[in-house]
Amino acid sequence: MATSTLGRRSAGTGAAPARRPPRGLPGWVAPVASIGVPVAVLVAFVLLPLVFVGVYSFYSLNEMSGLMQTDFWVGNYREVLSSDIYRRVLWRTFQIAGAATLLALVVAYPMAYALGALVDPRRQGVLVLLVIVPFWTSYIVRTFSWIGILQRDGFLQDALGWVPGLPTDLLYSRAAVLIGFVHVFLPLMILPIYASVRNLDRRLLEAAHDLGSPPWRTFLRVTLPLTLPGVVAGLVLFFIPCFGSFVTPQLLGGTGDLMMGNVIATQFGEAFNWPLGAALSIVMTLIVVVGLAIFFRFADVDQVYG
C-alpha cells in the first residue's frame, strides 16, 4: 500500500550518504503498520458491515418459517418503494427533517451573523466554544431535557403559562420533534454559517453602503450570496442527522410521527425482518449520499473547516 516514503532525508544534507539505522525494522514496516492497522480495523468493522447491509437487502424471508433465505430477491426494494406505509414514512421523514432544517436556518443565521460580524474577533473564540459545549453533552440527555419542559404541567406551563395563546402541552407532537431537532443539532447549522460570515470581506458591505444601497438590499445582494456556501453546508450537515434520526421522534414525537430510523429499528428489534430493514437502510444511505454530494459540490469545504 505504501509505495514511497517522503521527507526521509534531511534537505540540508542531501549530498551526505543517507544514514540508514543499521538496527531496527525494515523500511516498509512503519508505513504498513501505521496506515494498515487502522485501515484493517475500519474495513473489518465499517466497510464490510455496510457491504453486508447491501447483501442482506437482497435476501428474503421464508413465508412459512419466517427464517431468512440467502437468495437474490428485489422484493424488499419493491415493497419499500411501492407500499403505501413505507412511502408515507419516507415522505414524512423528508417533511420533518426538512422543516427542522429550515427552522434551524432561520434560528441560526442571525445568530451566526452576530457572532461572525458584530463580535470583537478576540472574543469570538470563547463564544464559538460556547456554541460547541452543548454538543459535549449526551444526545439522550439533551433530548430528555425537553420532556420536562414540554410535558403537560411541565416547565413551559409553569413559567410561561400566563401568556395567552401559548401552547404548553407539546410533548408527543410534531412541534416537540422539531424543537428537539433544532436544539440538538443547531451547532451544525451555526458553525458553517459563522465561518462564512467571518470570511466576508467587510469592504464590500461598506462599498454597498457608500453607493447608497439600503441595508436589506445589501443583505440580499451581497451578504447572502457570499455566505451561501456556509448556508448550504449548514443545511446539509443539519439535514443528514435529522433524516437518520431515531431517538428524537421516539422520545418526543407522537406514535403517528415515527420516522424512517424508527421503522428500520423496528425491523431489527421487533419485526425481525432483517432483509427489509437492510433495504430501508440502503435507501436512507443513498439519500444521505446525495445530500453529501450536494455538500461537496456547492459548499466550500476549506472555508467551512478553515
Partner: protein, 286 residues
C-alpha cells in the same frame, strides 16, 4: 453557564456598538446581539434545567422549584442497575479512549508522512463512520457481528465505539501532526537517533496535546454514545445512556434527572479540562 454566556454576549453588545461603521444600524446590531444571547439561552437552558430538576423535591421540572433535595441522588446511589451501567460506561470509555487514540496516532503518523496510491480513498475511509447515519451503522454492525459469530455484549460495544470515535480522534491528532516543525525530527535523526527513539522523544511530545485531546474526546464520545450501543449491546450489558433511555420510555422517574446530571457533568468536566489544559499550554508557550 447559560447566564455566563449571556453575560459574555451582553458585554460584547456594549462593545460592538461602539464606533463601527455608520450609527444608523446600531439598533439593529444591538438587537442581533440580544438575539444571539437568546439563542445561547435556548442552547443551555434545557441542559441547565436538568441539573436544577435533579435537586427539585417535586421530582420534575416545576417552576419555581419549591426547594432543594438530595433525595434523587440518594436514589441513584442505591440504584444497582444505574450503578452497574455507570461502571460499564466508564470501563468502555477508558478502553475506547486508549484504542481509538492508538489507532488515531498510527493513522495520523502515516497520513502525515507518506504518500501512496489510494491515499484519498484511505482518507475517505477514515471519515466514513462520521457520515453513516447512526441507525444504518448500528444495523450494519448487528448484521456483521451476527455473520461472523461475535455474540453481542461488552466487546461489541467497545468495537462500535472505537469505530465511532476514530474519525474525531484522528482529526485532532492529525492537526497537531501538521502543526509542528518537521525539521526537529530530521535534526534528531541526523544526530543519530533511530526511528523509534525519534518518535518517542521528539514526535510524541510534540503531538501530545492532540493525543490527549483525542483521548478525552474519544472517552466522552463513548460515554455519551447511544444509537450504535442500542443496536449492538444485546440484552446483557447496558451502558448508562441505554438505561436512561429505557427508563425514560417506561417509567420516567425522578432518578433519571440525577443520572442525566451526572452524565452532563462527566462529559463537560472531561472536555473542559482538556480545553483548559490546552489553553494553559498555549499561554505557557506564548
Amino acid at each position: 453557564m447559560a447566564r455566563a454566556a449571556m453575560r459574555a454576549g451582553g458585554g460584547t453588545a456594549a462593545r460592538g456598538g461602539q464606533g463601527r461603521g455608520p450609527d444608523r444600524g446600531a439598533l439593529g446590531r444591538r438587537l442581533l446581539l440580544v438575539y444571539a444571547a437568546l439563542v445561547y439561552g435556548f442552547l443551555f437552558l434545557p441542559i441547565l434545567l436538568v441539573m436544577v430538576t435533579s435537586v427539585n423535591p417535586d421530582g420534575r421540572a416545576t417552576f419555581p422549584p419549591p426547594g432543594v433535595t438530595d433525595r434523587w441522588y440518594r436514589d441513584l446511589v442505591s440504584d444497582d442497575q444505574m450503578l452497574e451501567a455507570f461502571r460499564t460506561s466508564l470501563t468502555v470509555g477508558a478502553i475506547v479512549a486508549l484504542v481509538a487514540t492508538v489507532l488515531g496516532l498510527l493513522a495520523a503518523w502515516g497520513l502525515s508522512r507518506y504518500t501512496f496510491r489510494f491515499k484519498r480513498g484511505v482518507r475517505a475511509l477514515f471519515y466514513l463512520p462520521m457520515l453513516v447515519p447512526g441507525v444504518v451503522g448500528g444495523i450494519s454492525l448487528v448484521i456483521w457481528f451476527n455473520r461472523i459469530g461475535l455474540a453481542s455484549g461488552f466487546w461489541t460495544i467497545v468495537i462500535a465505539h472505537v469505530v465511532h470515535a476514530l474519525p474525531y480522534t484522528l482529526t485532532l491528532i492529525l492537526t497537531s501532526f501538521y502543526g509542528f516543525d518537521r525539521r526537529l525530527e530530521e535534526a534528531s535523526r541526523d544526530l543519530g537517533a533511530g526511528e523509534w527513539s525519534t518518535f518517542r522523544r521528539v514526535t510524541l511530545p510534540l503531538v501530545m496535546p492532540g493525543v490527549i485531546g483525542g483521548a478525552l474526546l474519544a472517552f466522552t464520545l463513548s460515554f455519551d454514545e447511544f444509537v450504535l450501543t442500542f443496536f449492538v449491546a444485546g440484552g446483557g450489558v447496558q451502558t448508562l445512556p441505554l438505561v436512561i433511555f429505557s427508563r425514560i420510555r417506561f417509567e420516567l422517574s425522578p432518578v433519571i434527572n440525577a443520572a442525566a446530571a451526572v452524565v452532563i457533568a462527566v462529559s463537560v468536566l472531561v472536555l473542559l479540562s482538556g480545553q483548559l489544559a490546552g489553553w494553559a499550554r498555549a499561554r505557557r508557550q506564548a
